[in-house]
Symmetry: C2
Subunit: 128 residues, 2 copies
């Protein structure tokens, strides 16, 4: 019954705060990023996504997919067959979102060395 989003949703913050923050939280959420990245390549089925991403529980994957679908990023195509078959793909808006977070993710990887060196310097300065 609850429509809890992927990311934290506290009433007061959402009421008074910036609404676009919720969009950002959904696309940058732990599994949201990975789902968008996976669907960037091609359409995936539910179990395919689970295997591709790895380490995600059924609950969290379903919740993430529902959130992304609700936001208009993911298209859900449920085939009325037995056994069930559901295909997930990106919408036009979703492709935009995927490109954005993909760019940010790539930047994170490019700068990872610099960050890790900064961390070593920071940690080293304290233990001295």
């Amino acid at each position: 019954m609850s429509v809890s989003a992927t990311a934290s949703v506290r009433p007061d913050v959402n009421a008074t705060g910036c609404p676009s923050r919720l969009v950002l939280e959904h696309v940058t959420s732990r599994w949201g990023v990975l789902v968008l990245a996976a669907l960037r390549e091609r359409t995936h089925r539910f179990s395919e996504l689970r295997r591709t991403i790895g380490g995600v529980s059924e609950k969290m994957l379903a919740q993430t997919l529902r959130t992304l679908e609700r936001d208009g990023f993911v298209h859900r195509d449920a085939h009325p067959v037995i056994p069930p078959r559901v295909d997930y793909s990106l919408t036009g808006l979703g492709r935009e979102a995927a490109e954005q977070v993909w760019a940010l993710a790539r930047w994170s990887e490019r700068r990872l060395d610099a960050v890790q060196e900064a961390r070593r310097a920071y940690d080293g300065a304290r233990s001295s």
Copy 2:
């Protein structure tokens, strides 16, 4: 004593998972985004940041700033005076990070209308 990061840090995921994800989580964290956005403009003092951002507890602001400093995004300049005065500013790496998340945040705002309409359509289809 603990070095808990701004975003969630589960041992198993960090051990096996993609390390650049931690960078992404820090810069896209709830308060991380707002700190980077504020410091993009100019140097801020601790209390200034609290007022500018609004709604952030001392604990979370300090924790966020420490995480961003450790990652090499924020420069901390503590003046040895009484009363204490500490200035926070962005490093070169931090300016890069700020630009990246700022771009993503701007995109979120640009597409906010489309997302909200998608949400209405989604919610309306269920209540029928």
